[in-house]
């Protein structure tokens, strides 16, 4: 098994409802995968099961050849960064301290080294000038960029993004997508749950389409967007590209003209 992240047969049920019915996927180093699909199909649950934020009922996860267990969970989590839909920045800490916390208190770097890392990562997401701001003083897009910097500062092997732009209005989505595109181009290994068609098209190596707790189809974005094999995939992609993709003329707007 050469994949950096390997997920085998993950199952998760809430009460009677089985949300994940045995999902497997692999992520190679330096690649980006985007998980798409209708809401309620277990995409976010899958992501949270990978680092045990939501413990799966069954299934196994390997990172770099090492299997995740209760024992090594915290050590492996240091290498699996997670970016949340609603940012979850630490309210009482300035942007720079949010980013510095991981290197200093978890990685155990010296104060100076942690500071260097924090400044470098804030710079990378274009938030250097807001280093001294508190989360409440930042817009949603800025908060998400800081939270990406916080993830990067852990110097992780892979970053999981759980709908990173879903809490943002379209104006702010752009700045976050730009940062994610930059990371993908720099060779960061990323797994995203996202409906950002423009990002998926241009930056993803592969699209995974999920429905009803299963992966129903996966492939390169050029193939999947152009010629989806599964009828459910086709309907879904048609719907989101019609409504959300600025590259595709909006049919309703066209009709009104």
């Amino acid at each position: 098994m050469s994949a950096l992240l390997s997920v085998q047969e993950i199952r998760k049920a809430y009460r009677e409802e089985e949300v994940l019915k045995g999902v497997s996927l692999e992520l190679d180093k330096g690649t980006t995968k985007v998980v798409m699909g209708p809401s309620g199909t277990g995409k976010s649950t899958l992501l949270r099961c990978i680092n045990y934020l939501t413990p799966p009922d069954a299934g196994r996860v390997w990172l770099d050849g090492e299997e995740l267990t209760r024992r090594n969970l915290n050590r492996l989590r240091e290498d699996i960064a997670f970016v949340f839909q609603d940012f979850n920045l630490f309210t009482h800490l300035r942007a720079i301290d949010n980013v510095r916390l991981g290197p200093r208190k978890i990685r155990g770097h010296s104060k100076k080294r942690a500071d260097e890392i924090a400044r470098r990562e804030l710079e990378r997401v274009g938030m250097s000038d807001k280093a001294q701001s508190y989360p409440a003083e930042l817009s949603g897009g800025q908060q998400q960029r800081v939270s990406i910097a916080r993830a990067l500062a852990m110097e992780p092997k892979v970053i999981l993004f759980d709908e990173p732009t879903s809490a943002l209005d379209p104006e702010l989505t752009g700045e976050v997508v730009a940062v994610m595109k930059l990371l993908a181009s720099e060779g960061m290994t990323m797994l995203l749950v996202s409906h950002e068609v423009s990002f998926a098209r241009s930056a993803a190596d592969e699209i995974v389409f999920m429905e009803g707790g299963h992966i129903v189809e996966q492939g390169r974005p050029s193939e999947l967007f152009a010629n989806p094999q599964n009828p459910r995939t086709r309907r879904f992609l048609q719907m989101i590209t019609d409504h959300h993709d600025p590259d595709t003329p909006d049919r309703l707007a066209g009709a009104a003209r």
Partner: protein, 222 residues
Amino acid sequence: MIWEIIWDQMPHLLHGLSVALQLLACLLLVGIALGLTIALIEVYGHWSLRFLCTVFERVFRGIPAVVLLLLFYYGVTDFIEMTSFMAAVTALGLRSTAYQSQIFRGAIQSVPPGQLAAAQSMGMSKAKAVREIVLPQALRHAIGPWTNEYSSELKATSLAYVIGVVELTRQGKYIISSTQGNVLIVFGVVALMYFVVNRAGNWGLYRFERAVTVPGFERRAS
């Protein structure tokens, strides 16, 4: 005439005030230490411990302070050697623990749980995440309601009168007994002393709250 008496007796009143403040400090410290522990157990603990804490907290919030004082002084001292001051610290301290546990529990629960998840997702243990992320925010949230607890408990120290702690109220009573009368003026002065300490404490805590607040935390209206 009466003002001369008050002036002469002032050292006694100040001594009484000092005893009241010592009692207050002790019972509040007991309340912070145990109250915070109980709050953490009630939020994060095993259900059996949670149950015990809830029982404790209900019992001590459900019994009048004077009855607790009498119980501890006349009841418990039969088994354990205790001065009236120690009995007062224990009774009022445990009662304050019950109230403070609810202040701290609410404050801990007001920190968005997503932040705990974020810290854990970085590889922090839960205990460390609570210490680094939850408590610094929860304690800020707690200052406002805690100020109220300070006021309440300052006034409650006067109840230690009933088990013979020679605190401010009892000193006032002694002056009245030894000078035959002047109830209104002596207790008026006593009342003023409580009031001044109360306001001073509130002012100090308010200043403290403002000093440690950061954007994103709601401030009390001044």
